[in-house]
Every structure is written in C-alpha cells, then in structure tokens.
C-alpha cells in the first residue's frame, strides 16, 4: 500500500498529538500483522475511529493477508454482538482492551501494545475466498449486516485512479473529515498513503473549533465532504482566507445543489485551489467518476467523467442508450466489488460481478461523456451521506402497523397508518437511535390510509407529492 522505507511523515495522530514517519508506520504494521499471523486466511473485525492505532490495525489485516471488515466503533453494542454472532470473526481489533460485550469469553486478548487484538478461541471456521481483502458496510449503521466484498486489487486500482484524477502528490496533506469505515473516508486514507503524502487523523467534527485549528496549524491541504458537510461550511462561511493551506476540496456521497457547487468552485478557484465533484458507490470500492474543476462552470450539474480504467454506459430496458437519454448507470472497471455477503458462509464466494456493476442509479451521459445523475432506480434515500434502504426501513417499522417512507431532499418522510399522534415522536426517536441519525431527519406523519395504485402497490409518487406539501 505504501513505500515502507521513507522517513517522511506519514501520519499525525490528533489523539496522541504525535507524528509518525512511514518507516515507523511500517514497523508497527508488521508487528501487529505478526500477532494476526495464523496459517488459515482469517476474518478480522476492525472497529474503527480516525486514529493511529486503528490505521495500524487496518493495514496489519491487509499485510497479514486476511479479510478485514471495517466497522464503526460507535456502533450499538447489541448490533456489534449480532454481527459477531453472524460472522464469527477470528480476530477483533479494537481500540479498547475491555472485553467486547456479548462474546461470552469467546475471545482472548493477544496484544494491547498498539491496537488491542482479540483472538477467537474456537477452531478454524468456514473457508474465506483467497481474493477477499476487505468488507465494507453499504449503509452506514442501519443495522443491516450486509457487506460489500472487495479484493486488494479493487482497493489498489481505485486508489490509483483517484490519485490520477485528483493529481494527489507527496506534498498533499489530508485531514480525515469522514469516518474511517465509510468507503469515501477510507479512500482518502488509501490514496494519501499510496502517494507518500501525509494524513492528519482526527475525530473532531466540522462544527468544532479544534477541527479548524488543526487544519490551520498543521497546514492541511485537502478536505473531503458529503453534501451536508458543504451545507455546514456554507452556513459557517468556511473556509475563509485564514486557511491558506487548503487547496483541494472534494465532494461525494450524494448530490450537492448546483448553487453550492458553483460557489465552492469559485471560492477555491479564487484562492488557486480546486473543488472536485465526484460520484461513486461502496460497490465500486469508492469512486466511479470525477469532475475536474477545469470543466466548471460549463458542466455544472455533472458528476464528471469515469475515472481512469473505468467506463460508464447508460442502460434502458432493451440495452444501451444514446447520449442524453436517461437510464440505469452501468459501470465497468477494476474497482467493481466481488459481490455482497450477508453471513459468514458467503465469504467463500469468488468474483460474482466480473467487473460490471449495475448501480441502481439513474442518469444520462452527454456527448462529451460527462455523467449526470438524476435519481435512484431502487428505493434508497441518502441522509447526511448515509444510504438507507427504504424497504428495509419500512420492515423495521412493521410492528407499528403499515408505513411507507419517501426520501425528499435531505430528510425522510414516513407515513404511518397505525400510529397515534402521541406515539409518533417516541417512534421517531427510537428509529433515529437505531439508525444513528439525527431525529430531525425523520419526519413521521399519520395517514388514515396509505394510497395504493391500481396494482395494489403503495403509490410512492403520490406520497412524495404529499410529503413536499
């Protein structure tokens, strides 16, 4: 993943206020990989936050040749337990030496000098496919135990294409403004290490003074955000002229309105920097398309062109469509996942997709090959960069009677037949906690009867219109 012999600074860890060189990072990764060394290819659960120990844990999993699942260390304990039950990881890497709840002494602490490494006591489990290197969750913390299966080739190919598309160079310094376990956040880490650039690992949020002090004092050059991040920055009037080091800003994880794209593009251009709009999916490791700011404002509204090594086609019901026509976006490239997994036994599967991904996103290409995303084929909504499957969400609410959810802008409107007005806020708060999202993003409404179409299915188009009223 990176040059092991460089004395250049690789990582600054805000938690311990320390720089680590590439050589030091490599030594620590080898040391942890040694602890993870067993003959059989193993599954590692890596509970992540943006710090040095978790970085070493993640890289050691790759180094040891195992398959690592990256998980949010803030995930509810009950969900952690159910994931461990379902996948029976051979190792758990955690920043805490406290026993993981609900594991009933199944795991033994092997090492706590760096990241804490726990090893499962029971005998080797089902076989894990040779190509599998990484498991990422598709939907943040919605409580769905579904992972995207990625190979080391996927990771490296996507990192190289991104480095190429954004021209990341050794002088760059990125601050981690997104979670480690999120494909976009991870892509920042991979691309900067691959280039020999530096990383500043912090868990501070965009709304804290500490975050911006770090950007200024450590002269960070690169910032990454989802649409909501840029809405916050817009409200805060950031970055102002007191952050001269900030030269590259990237945006992905959903669609940012054209007005803000234009504004951030102009702000960055005026200071000699660049603002990139990007598009991608965890199913494609992270990135699918990048819009180089040299095409702005001409191509405002576009998510750019496919990354190097990738190709985008637009498919209708009867095959590929001509430029301008809207259809499903189909992506091919070396970064397309092997497939999904929903339990341990599926980790033995090989490459199901063979490099072609039907994204489920609707869009069109213009004559110059720029892609414009217009919506979703399937029922998904994006809230603060987190993708939620609306069918799964409705299933979670089935105990409260029939309900239907529609996503509009940056919130979800949920229509419930069975609930009383008084029960709504309780239900909302409970769901918000379960999904780890803010309760204001959920708008529960009572409806006497969900509208149905002639075929007996819920009329979501009508509900969307109602939700916008």
């Amino acid at each position: 993943m990176f040059d092991h012999t460089s004395r250049a600074n690789a990582v600054y860890d805000v938690a311990s206020a320390k720089w680590h060189t590439y050589t030091e990072l490599a030594e620590e990764v080898y040391r942890v990989a040694e602890t993870l060394h067993v003959p059989a290819k193993s599954l590692v659960f890596c509970f992540c936050r943006n710090d040095y120990q978790c970085l070493c844990g993640y890289l050691a999993g790759l180094e040891a040749g195992h398959a690592s699942a990256l998980l949010d260390d803030g995930t509810a304990a009950s969900f952690q337990t159910s994931l461990i039950d379902l996948y029976r990881p051979n190792f758990i890497v955690h920043s805490s030496a406290a026993e993981i709840q609900g594991t009933n002494g199944e795991y033994q602490l092997m090492d706590k000098r760096g990241p804490c490494v726990w090893r499962r006591k029971s005998a080797p489990d089902t076989v894990i496919h040779n190509s599998l290197a990484l498991l990422l969750s598709t939907s943040g913390s919605t409580g769905t135990p579904k992972f995207v299966r990625l190979s080391l080739d996927n990771l490296l190919a996507n990192a190289r294409s991104i480095v190429d598309g954004l021209s990341i160079h050794p002088g760059d310094r990125a601050i981690t403004s997104l979670p480690f376990h999120y494909s976009y956040g991870l892509s920042i880490i991979n691309t900067h290490l691959l280039t020999g650039a530096s990383l500043v690992l912090t868990n501070e949020g965009l709304t804290s003074r500490a975050f911006w002090n770090t950007v200024r004092d450590l002269e960070c050059s690169s910032f990454a955000g989802v649409p909501y991040s840029y809405q916050i920055l817009h409200r805060l009037g950031l970055p102002g002229s007191d952050f001269p080091s900030l030269r590259t800003m990237t945006q992905a994880g959903g669609r940012l309105e054209n007005g803000l794209v234009d504004q951030f593009f102009r702000n960055m251009a005026a200071r000699g920097g660049r603002f990139f709009v990007m598009y991608g999916q965890t199913e494609a490791t992270a990135r699918i398309a990048i819009l180089d700011p040299k095409w702005l404002p001409e191509k405002l509204g576009s998510a750019g062109r496919p990354i190097s090594g990738g190709a985008i086609r637009i498919h209708g019901d009867s095959g590929p469509l001509a430029p301008g026509a809207v259809g499903e976006l189909v992506y091919s490239g070396p970064n397309v996942m092997l497939g999904y997994a929903v339990n341990r036994s599926e980790l033995s599967a090989g490459d199901d997709l063979k490099g072609t991904l039907h994204t489920g996103d609707l869009g069109s290409l213009d004559r110059d090959g720029f892609v414009y995303i217009s919506g979703r084929l399937n029922r998904y909504a994006k809230l603060s960069g987190i993708r939620l499957n609306l069918d799964e969400l409705e299933a979670m609410l089935k105990d409260h009677g029939p309900s239907a959810a529609v996503g509009i802008e940056d919130k979800l409107v949920i229509f419930c037949e069975g609930l009383q007005e008084t029960a709504l806020s309780h239900c909302r708060d409970e769901l918000a906690r379960r999904l780890s999202i803010h309760h204001r993003l959920l708008d529960f409404r009572v409806i006497p009867k969900l509208p149905l179409k002639a075929n007996g299915k819920i009329d979501y188009t009508l509900l969307e219109q109602t939700a916008r009223c």
Binding site: G74, W212, I232, R235, L236, L238, A432
Partner: protein, 96 residues
C-alpha cells in the same frame, strides 16, 4: 407604580426565561427532556452531539432568542455554559 418587589419578580422571570429557553433549545436538538440535565452537556463527552445535532442546536438557539450567531460563535459553542456566555453577547440577559 412599580414596587421593588415587582421589579425583583420581573428580573427573576427574565432569568428563568432565558435559562428555560436555552434548556428547551438543547432539549429539542438532542430529543431529550429539558429537565434531563442538559445544563451539564459538553461537546465531546456526549455521543449524540455530532455535527448534525450541532447545526440543529444552533438553529434552535437562533430562533429561541431571535439572533444570528457569527461563525466564531457557532464553532465555539461547545457546552450549555458556553452557550449561555455566547447568547449573552447578543444582549440576552441571564443575570438578575
């Protein structure tokens, strides 16, 4: 004619009002009861205080006191006590 007692009563009412309004703003932003100890809340010690909650809190405070917070104040607002200090700068009184 205002007696001194009236005056004292009014002043106390203002204190309670501002304090209560701030408590309600916190309660609304974090989906908790205003009497659940929101006065002790500190950013970084409270898992639900992420950037989304922070921006909702800012909006709640701005509408509760009909003020518009400057960038510096938005990123400095890191606890209930700090919020009182900041809101006070905009002419809201918490003192008797």
């Amino acid at each position: 004619m205002n007696t001194e007692e009236d005056f004292v009563h009014k002043a106390t009412a203002t204190v309670t009002d501002s304090q209560e309004r701030l408590k309600h703003a916190f309660a609304a932003a974090f989906a908790v009861s205003p009497d659940s100890g929101v006065e002790q809340m500190v950013y970084g010690e409270c898992a639900s205080w992420d950037s989304t909650a922070h921006m909702v809190l800012i909006a709640e405070i701005e509408s509760a006191f009909d003020i518009m917070l400057a960038t510096e104040d938005v990123i400095d607002l890191s606890s209930f006590e700090k919020a009182k200090e900041i809101v006070a700068k905009y002419g809201v009184s918490f003192e008797g």
